[in-house]
């Protein structure tokens, strides 16, 4: 039923209330950009560029265990210190990679990313629980653009 007031009159009203039941799975990238502990550093740089991400997840080969992550700055530091011949395990940062469940509320998750200054979340889900995808700043931005 069309209203007498077109969308030009109230351009933003429909979206003013955030959707309460939006899960993280709606905005995530359904693929984990990952490498193993033994992947060469230059290969990590190449794969990061191909996948178009800013952080690579480092996982143990043949398992879902996350060992750490490599950001662009980690790579740049490795280059600056002349460690390009090494493996992913030599340059990765060992801080725990933040995770979020695929069924979590997207609004709350975005709020958490903002407050804790998280650039990339690993989305876990399924039974048994395993990494399903990632939610990066770019994914949030592109979700904002298409919603």
């Amino acid at each position: 039923m069309p209203t007498p007031f077109g969308s030009t009159t109230l351009p933003s009203y429909t979206f003013a209330v955030p959707d309460p039941a939006l899960p993280v799975a709606a905005a995530m990238r359904a693929r984990v950009p990952s490498c193993t502990l033994r992947t060469p550093v230059m290969e990590v740089a190449r794969r990061m560029r191909e996948e178009g991400v800013r952080t690579m997840i480092v996982a143990s080969a043949g398992s879902d265990l996350i060992a750490g992550s490599i950001s662009e700055l980690d790579l740049l530091r490795a280059v600056a210190e002349g460690r390009t011949e090494g493996m992913a395990s030599d340059v990765m940062s060992l801080e725990a990679v933040p995770t979020v469940h695929a069924g979590m509320d997207l609004n709350a998750t975005v709020k958490r990313m903002r407050e804790e200054e998280i650039g990339l979340l690993v989305v876990v889900g399924g039974q048994p629980e395993r990494p399903m995808g990632v939610l990066s700043l770019a994914d949030v931005a592109s979700f904002l653009a298409r919603r």
């Binding site: 662009e72 740049l76 280059v79 600056a80 903002r114």
Partner: protein, 215 residues
């Protein structure tokens, strides 16, 4: 400041390095200060850029919006404007600054993106403190721009960082190991001296009997 000269104080010719203007992502995408956060997100998506510049009515750049800043407008993306979420103080790099120098600053500051803007006119440099006075930026220099051309830029990036002392962290470990070995040797010698004190060691057989005197 003249960064191009500051890098080579000895004046010696250095390994091939490129100025920032040759490696940067050329050109900028502009959005209006009153554009909504959703419109900014769409602009980023349509142009494939991770950062846009916010201009005011007189088309002067007044800020930068990156993907991270979009999160501030998540709750109401149609009413929050670009001016409310923009970053007013981005990191600037001169177009002629060598990339090795720029990447070192990125590591020091922990940023992944820099604005490439023309330096202010030298005769008035005292007055041009604000980056906005430099006019519209020429482009952006991101870490991925550098990583994408790593084969070519690696010598420059590595040489500068090592010279500035960035890589000294890994040389502490051998020094500590050597020092601890020396301390261990000193302790062994000290223990030996205390143990044999008053008991002179005579290695010649037949000369050690106390009543028969020396040999």
């Amino acid at each position: 400041m003249s960064p191009a000269q500051a890098v080579t104080p000895s004046g010696a010719p250095t390994a091939p390095d490129r100025p920032a203007r040759e490696v940067m992502r050329n050109g900028v995408v502009l959005v209006d200060a009153d554009a909504s956060v959703r419109a900014v997100a769409r602009t980023m998506r349509d142009h494939g850029v991770p950062a846009v510049f916010v201009v005011d009515l007189s088309a002067e750049a007044i800020g930068v919006v990156e993907e991270r800043d979009l999160l501030k407008g998540w709750d109401d993306p149609d009413r929050t404007t670009a001016a409310q979420v923009m970053n007013l103080d981005p990191v600037i790099v001169d177009p002629d600054e060598p990339v090795g120098n720029a990447t070192r600053r990125m590591l020091e500051l922990g940023v992944t993106r820099m604005l490439v803007a023309l330096p202010p006119p030298s005769e008035e440099s005292g007055r041009w403190l604000d980056w906005r006075e430099r006019g519209l930026p020429l482009g952006t220099l991101s870490v991925d721009d550098v990583l994408a051309r790593l084969e070519e830029l690696e010598p420059a990036v590595r040489r500068r960082a090592v010279r500035s002392g960035q890589a000294t962290g890994r040389r502490v470990a051998p020094a500590v190991a050597v020092a601890s070995i020396l301390v261990a040797i000193a302790l062994i010698v000290l223990a030996a001296v205390l143990f044999f004190h008053g008991h002179p060691v005579n290695l010649s057989p037949g000369c050690s009997h106390p009543t028969q005197g020396g040999c």
